[in-house]
Structures are given as structure tokens and as C-alpha cells.
Subunit: 308 residues, 4 copies
Amino acid sequence: MGAIRTDLAMESFEEHGKERLPGVEISSWEAEGVHVTEVKVSQGEGARLLGKAPGSYLTLELEDQARRAPESRRAMATLLGEELARLVPPGESDPVLVLGLGNRWVTPDALGPRTVERTLVTRHILREMPQAADERMGLVCAVAPGVLGVTGVETQEMVKGLISQLRPRCVIAVDALAARATDRMGYTIQLTDTGIQPGSGVGNHRSALTQETLGVKVLALGVPTVVYAATVARDALELLARNSGLEQGHEKALDALGDQIAGGELGEMIVTPREIDQLIEDVSAMLASGINQALHPGLSQSEIDTMM
Amino acid sequence: MGAIRTDLAMESFEEHGKERLPGVEISSWEAEGVHVTEVKVSQGEGARLLGKAPGSYLTLELEDQARRAPESRRAMATLLGEELARLVPPGESDPVLVLGLGNRWVTPDALGPRTVERTLVTRHILREMPQAADERMGLVCAVAPGVLGVTGVETQEMVKGLISQLRPRCVIAVDALAARATDRMGYTIQLTDTGIQPGSGVGNHRSALTQETLGVKVLALGVPTVVYAATVARDALELLARNSGLEQGHEKALDALGDQIAGGELGEMIVTPREIDQLIEDVSAMLASGINQALHPGLSQSEIDTMM
Amino acid sequence: MGAIRTDLAMESFEEHGKERLPGVEISSWEAEGVHVTEVKVSQGEGARLLGKAPGSYLTLELEDQARRAPESRRAMATLLGEELARLVPPGESDPVLVLGLGNRWVTPDALGPRTVERTLVTRHILREMPQAADERMGLVCAVAPGVLGVTGVETQEMVKGLISQLRPRCVIAVDALAARATDRMGYTIQLTDTGIQPGSGVGNHRSALTQETLGVKVLALGVPTVVYAATVARDALELLARNSGLEQGHEKALDALGDQIAGGELGEMIVTPREIDQLIEDVSAMLASGINQALHPGLSQSEIDTMM
Amino acid sequence: MGAIRTDLAMESFEEHGKERLPGVEISSWEAEGVHVTEVKVSQGEGARLLGKAPGSYLTLELEDQARRAPESRRAMATLLGEELARLVPPGESDPVLVLGLGNRWVTPDALGPRTVERTLVTRHILREMPQAADERMGLVCAVAPGVLGVTGVETQEMVKGLISQLRPRCVIAVDALAARATDRMGYTIQLTDTGIQPGSGVGNHRSALTQETLGVKVLALGVPTVVYAATVARDALELLARNSGLEQGHEKALDALGDQIAGGELGEMIVTPREIDQLIEDVSAMLASGINQALHPGLSQSEIDTMM
């Protein structure tokens, strides 16, 4: 059947039957109750088949039974902090720019803006009171650039303008993602060094934010908050087709049906948990905690809380 | 296949193939660009088959092409006001109590609370300044009782307490509904004199608010804001089954598949437009406008705005 | 000069020059870095002079230097929990009803509603799953009844209705208060067993919620979030008068000036910190933490977080 | 007495006893029930005495008795639109950039961000669908750049970056102001061609946004939403001093007292109406309406509503 829409490299890989793809390497491990998968994509055939830019895609997944405990979210945040710290280039005089992509007034798309609101920002402190600087605190600024439909300004334009003024050593772009599997919503983090590719994200209208377009390293950090309704419908079709043996010889008819569903009114619809508002709160707190740990490695959680 | 979950009597009727059901009468007409359908259900077999309490269910639908224009919402509001005015018992000394059901912090469930925030409340004015009373202004109070999981109090308990104090002549309960068809979300109003039945609404955990339980006439006013994800999946199954001729002889297998989907993780998931926040704003403004026109028949929109 | 408006018994007492008043007993102590004062008022002359109902008024104050540390707020919350636990009558079968008074859409008046949103509510759990009951968890429900101008229903009516349904063993009413001293805003808690008196609170339009009117013990818990602008102006007048020796012989002129200020446009104005939104968040979290500790004495903070 | 803090040129002028100042010209007129005052300041002594940059300051004031009627706000918005249209340089190919200054999470400082949310943005439409362009619709983008303490980025840096990307023909900066007189809050608009000066606005921490610093014409549009508490106290002092004849010979003592008040805890406190949340909503709607009328001169209010 036609391609299912997902922003997770791991799901694109799974969709290919987990078969070996040329130039795609997979590894996975457990850490503190979190399942970690790394998909490494090289230039070439594998990248084309997956529909993903070459680079490294790290996926952190919380096990089902661990999801309700606050400790689990904390473990995820700590692990995210460690992985992020590995990817952010070292440096003291140039800031890290955290970007919260998406529309703060559209709940499932508000993950990025909510995360930057919780990021500890220090650039103004360290510039105005350099004596307050100590090695435990990084140089950080954080902006939610808004979305094109609300500002009339492309995210890429906004970020280029910011970069020309701030000269950051690295950009971390936080965004809400679309997944294929509904049970990944809120409990899977993807961290990649490929930046943001056009057409990804819940808002689905972003231009590229990459090393090529911005001239600076771009890490992208995202969590699925929606599944497209058309994906749910297609999955039901596939399930039935498989169960009934219809698949053989009817691929085209199934594809046509899938396209009909995606092209209709369902195309604009999303699937979320009913408690999407709470999920955005919880997940943005988790992401911001990971970011704060990575960028201010010497500060305790209590010190960070006090400074915000 | 197993019953599809919908709160709209009209959709339950359509699901029965629009065949004649004993004790169910249908009529429909157009008014100001709005399509109106009335389903009248008597006690008996028809009520049982539809799964709906006996009474009258009025459905107002905005045509597709009319949806973007603000004039259309105004026409819907005016029509709603007229139908509501017909159902509210006349009276001057006892108030009408408008109830906004649902959880204001869960966006798709916040329709009721947002509507009562926009309802013009007058009981305190008319009691404190009876000289301000004039026949153009009705006696109205409006409460959002919250939900059981947040307050620990059943909506029915809360409302019984209120009724014992306020002695209203009528209750209007506003609630977010679940529909079967995604294109009904936000553009279909159901108004019924049967009150709120257990298990209806997006929150799906309400006890009955009816003439029987409350001792006062209860009108229920709702707009679909979600479709259950399981409904979307089942609809895809049905579509495929019909297209492929699988239906004949496989009803049981299809039912089992449908139940498997509804019983899994999808069971908790909802389908909404991405712009659900904006939809709740627009629809609650429309409902409140209809309510204000019905309960304060002599006031102009500008006078209402000034008093709020 | 004419009476300064304050809801704090301690400030009323201080205004009387801390002189001995008949039937008023003062005691104070330190606990965990918090300054505690108890004003005990008996029926009679002292009560009349203070303008306060007879009863006990406990004031918890955070020292200036301790205010920025999150640990201090936690210490306040713990102390509040202990004092509250002493005042709530024991019982297992009747719930405690926590009331969040005030208007959630008026920031300085939103303290009560925001606090109940953070209160752990259990009545529905213990009723639906009695096997989940254990002695560490109390029977609690929590309601924000809204304000008269928004609902058309008196708070007293709403609460009477609730009490007739819930039969609580005790009511805890949380409200935003007005203080005289601006440096008390956000850092002073008043806990009293006298209930809510007419005309108190920021909203300043509440009818009595007391043992007499409700037939059940009413504890009132409040934190100043505003000072009236007229109070600030009067204080400036007094300061000048004292500094310049004007006071002698000009009391009447000063009173007239003070009344002129309070009666003018300033009468409707309030003084708050610029960061009033953040203050309401921080203080409501502190109050809810104290309430949760008092009512669920066996649950850890982490267990409470998980259950919410 | 020491200078009173106000952002309104008209109040600075009034403070000088409305005497003639060199290089300052005043004119005033009535239009549609609105009182309009223009203060024209030339380079030199008058500018220094007023503490205002040279340029034109237009003040629109709604009369007391007209404030409750929605018609009055509409008249203000229309008048603002006309005056703004006179000041914005004509042009079709370069956009107008509307900036919403201030912190959206600090209610009295949220006027700017709330106004840009209601501004009709068209740049993306006209770029993506040039055929949709018609002469009735201007080229507009609108950004709320956030505040330094939240983003770590100076507003001036953010705006310079934006200007380098967008090349606007004009900037309109919207900001919440501090006034001297409490009765001006919410009902007085100041429009000036001098841009934003350092230290103005409620947030009180902004760097200059002017033709000199940005290289493009900057109009500043503001409404007072706060009065500093120290101002209220000083005004009380002055009133008493004047009434008691203390002024003569005691100027220094009064100044010292005023400074003592402003330097103390009151220095951080603001005076607002209790309903500050509603005031911000109403005023931002009024400002956005004026801006939309000025920048999209051919669109009706209904067309603008439909496009948002």
C-alpha cells in the first residue's frame, strides 16, 4: 500500500519489513528502563527508500508499563540530556539557540513553544553580569518563532535573521511529530542531527532548517503528538486485507482505497488522545528538562527551578 | 457490524439504512441556508433500535459551501435561538439554568464550559436591581459544574444541589458530542428535549440529567467535536468489505476485527480537526449567541455585548 | 485616619498599635524558617474593634531572605499541612469539601480556582472502587463555584446545594485576600476557623460562608494577592503627616483627604506585583500542596503527582 | 517633586503646568466623540524638559461617559486607523511589520502580543498566491518577539534580524504603557513617529527601536495598562502638600519622601484595574481593528473576520 505518513525514521524502517536496506544501520539497547534505537542512514539508496535525509536518528521509547510513573519521565529526560550533550558542539562564547517550532494556539502543535517556555535561558544574564558566569551554566537562548499562517514570516527567514544576530554554535529545533502507531504518542522521543526537513511536523508546512540552509549545526528533537486519521484508516484496511487473504492480487485496489480515504475529508483530520492538553504539558516538561540538563550540566534541578 | 458510537439521533437513524422504524418519524426542511431534520422517537421498538430515549431530536446542519462565512454561523445561531425559544417554558419569576458540561481543560470537551462563559447571566442583576428588569431580558443563570474526575462530585449531584437552591423552570445542558461522520464536526447542532443520557458526550462518563432524575424539563444542546478513532477504522473496514464483496458471509469476522480495533489502544483515541482549539471557540460563540437570543428575546447583539 | 482595608487579622491588630485589646490574645513562634502568629479573638469589644469575627487566625509568614528558594515554599506548605490537619475534624465516611472561591478569569482573584485544580480529589475513586481505599488517602472533593457576576448564582447558594448533596464533615474555603502591606503579597498565609465573612476577599462581593450559614465547620485559607491602591495612597499621606508633624490637629483633614482618594477612581484600583500571573501559579501550588498533605497524610508527593 | 514616571508625552507636558515650552507645540480637537491631542516636539530645550524624543505624539482619549458602549471603542479604532494610515508610507512590494512588544505571560504587559494575534497577516498569502492580491489588501506580517528575560535575545537584535530578512517599509511597534493618571488606563491611545525609546513600556527593559537603530521608519502605538504604585503614593503626597500649604519651603523633604517610597518595595509594584485581563482583551481588539483598517483599507470588518 502507499506510503504511510510518519516523521519517525524508526517507523519508516519498520515499514520496510525491517529488512536490510543498503546504507542503513540499526542498533538498539536498553538504558534505565528506556528502549533506545539508533538508525544510521548514509547517502544513497537506503535514504531514498526510507524517505529520510542521511544522518543519525536516535529513538527513545518508554515501555508501556513504565508510563504512569513520574520517575520514568525523569529517566527519559536524563537519558535525553546525555544524548543531547554528546551532539551539541562544545563552546563557551557562542550560544546554543533552542527553537520551539509550531503554533502555540493549536494544542497538538504547541509542543515546541511550550518546551522553550521551560528552557532555562542565560545569554542575557551572562552578558549583563559576566561575573555570574560559571562553568556549570551554558550560554542559551530560546525562541518560539511562530508559524507562517500567523506571522506571515517563514520559519526559515525568522531563524536566518536570528542566526545573523546571535551567531549560535548550534540550533536545537523542537517540534511535534506525526507517528504511524497511536501508542507512540507522547512516549517516544526522536533526536536527529539532520535538522528539520520540509514537510515534517504536525503543522506540516515548514521549510528546511538544516546545516545547508542555515550554515550551522541543527539538531532536531521531536515527540509524536498525533497520528493522521488516514493512517488509522489505512491500517484498518491492511489488517482486514491480511486477515482475509485479500492482499494477494489486490494491492492496487487497496492502494486506490487508501488514497481515496487520505484525499477525502479525513486527510485533514488527526488522531490524538482525548487528554492531548495534559500530554503536551507533560512531554514539554520532559523535553525541557533534558535540554536544561544537557546545556547547563552543572546545575541541579532545584537550582534550575529557582532561576526560572 | 457492531454498533458505531454516535450521539446524534440522525446518524443512528441513517445507520439503520433510513428504513422505516416503528415509532420513529422523520421530517426535514431548509431555513436560511441551514438544513434542519427532526427525528421524533416514541416509546417502543424504534427507540430501542436507535438506542435513543423517546423525544424530539432536532438537527441543524450548515451546508459545506456556507461554512467559512461568518454570516452562516450567525444564521445558525438565529435559527437555534428560534427553536430553543419554542422549547423553553415561558415564565418570569423562575430562572433558566444553562449548564456547560465537560472539562474546560480538555480542549475537545470544553464546548459546554466555553459556551456558558459567553451566556448573558442576569439573575443577580434582576434580584439586586428589580427596577432594571424589563420584559426584553430573561432570568438566566449559567454554571459549568466541572467533571467527576476533577471535582469528585457527580454532575447529577451538583445539578440537584443547584436546582434545590435556584428552582429553575428549565435546564439547558450544553455538551460536546461524538459523531460518526468527521465532516459533521463543528457544523451540526443537535437540540433535544430528552435531556442528557448516561454515557453520552465526549467525556463519556456522565450520569443522566433528565426530567425524571431532576424533576425539571431538561433540554440538551450539543455539537460534535470528535469522532472516535475506532469509528474511522471501522468505516474503513466497511468500505473495503463493501468494495470487495467480502461482506457476504464474513459479517462475523468483520465484527470481530472491529471489536479488536475498538478494544485496543485506539479505543481511547479521538479524531479531531487539527484546529480543534479554534473550532471550540467558534462553535461556543455560535451556541451562546443562540441561547442569548432565545432567553433575552428583546436585546440586540450590541446590547448583549455591552452587558457582558 | 479612617480604617485601612485588610483581610488579615494580624494587620488589623497591628493597626491598633499592637496595644492590648480586650478579648484578643496574641502568640507567635518560629517553625522551619517560617514566622507564625496566632490571633485569638473572643466575642466582644476586641472583635468589634478589629472588625473580625471571633475565632482563631493563624498567620504564616515567609521571611524576606527565604522567599526565592523553592525549599521555603515547601517548608510553608508542610507547615500549612500540619496546622490544617489539626483543624480538620477526623472522619472517614464524610468527605472534606475544598472550595476555590474567586473568578478564574481575573488573575489576582484566581487563587482559589487554581488551588482546587491542584487538589487531589478522591471521592469518586473511593466510591467506585472502595477496595482502593486505604487509610493513607482521605475522602476529598473540590469545587470552584465561580462568582455571582459570571454565574448569576450566589456562592452561598451554590455551596448550600453542594452540602445538601455531599454532606461534608468540613469545608475548606480558599480565597485571594487583600492586605495592607505590599510586601505581604504572596508570602503570607492566613488560616482561620471563622469561615468566610461577607465583603472579604479580592472579589469583595461574597456572602457569608460560615458554620452558622452552612451548618458545617468552615475553615478559610487565604493569601494576599493585592493591596488596594487607596491603601497605598493613605499610607503615603500618613507617612508625610507623621514626618512633618502635621498629624496633630489635622486628623480630620487627613481623614477627608483619605476618603476623597478612596472614593475616587482609585477606589476600584489594585496594587499587585507586575508578575502577578506567576505569583498566582506559585502560591496556588503551595496551598494545594499543604491541603494535599493535610487530607492525604499517608501519600508521598510523588504518589500524589502520579494520581493527578 | 521628582519626575513622575509616564510614557505619555501629553502627561509629561501637563506635568509642566501646561506652560509654554520652547519647541513644543500643542493642538487638540474632537472627532467622533474622541478627544485628540497632538504634541509636536522639536529638537532642543523642550524635548529635554519633557524627557521625550523629538517627533509627533498623537493622543486619542475616550470620554468618560462613552467608555462602556462598544460603539465608542469602534469609533476609537476607526480614528486610529485613519491616523495610522496617514503615517504609514505607501508601497506595495515591501511589507509593513507589526511588532507586539512585551511578555504575553504577564497580563498587564501582554497588550502587544495580544494585538498582533489579532492582526490580519497577508504576506504569505500574497507571496504564495499573487493572483489573490488586490489593491484593497496590504502586505503585512506580524511578530511578537518576546522579552529578553524569556528568550535571552534583545528585542532590538530580534527585530534587526527580521528586518534584514523582510525589508519592511515601516515598523509599527505596539506596547503596553505606564501612565500617571489611573483614569487613562485602557482608554487612551498614544501614536508617535519617534519609535520606541529605551526604558519605556510596562516591561521597562527595552532597547531603542527607532529609525536610527533599525534604518526604517518606526511608529509606536501604545495604551497605558498600568500606573506605578510609587506614582499613586507621590500623587497623594502632592495632594496633601498642596492642601496643607506644606509645599512652600519643603520641596526637598517631599522629594526625599517620594524617593524613599519609589526606592522601597513599592518600586516594583503596579496599579491596575481588577479586571486587567478583560481590559487587555478589549484594548488589543481595538488596536488590532485600527491597524487592520489602516493596512487593509479596502476590506470590510466581516471580510477581515472571515480571513482570520
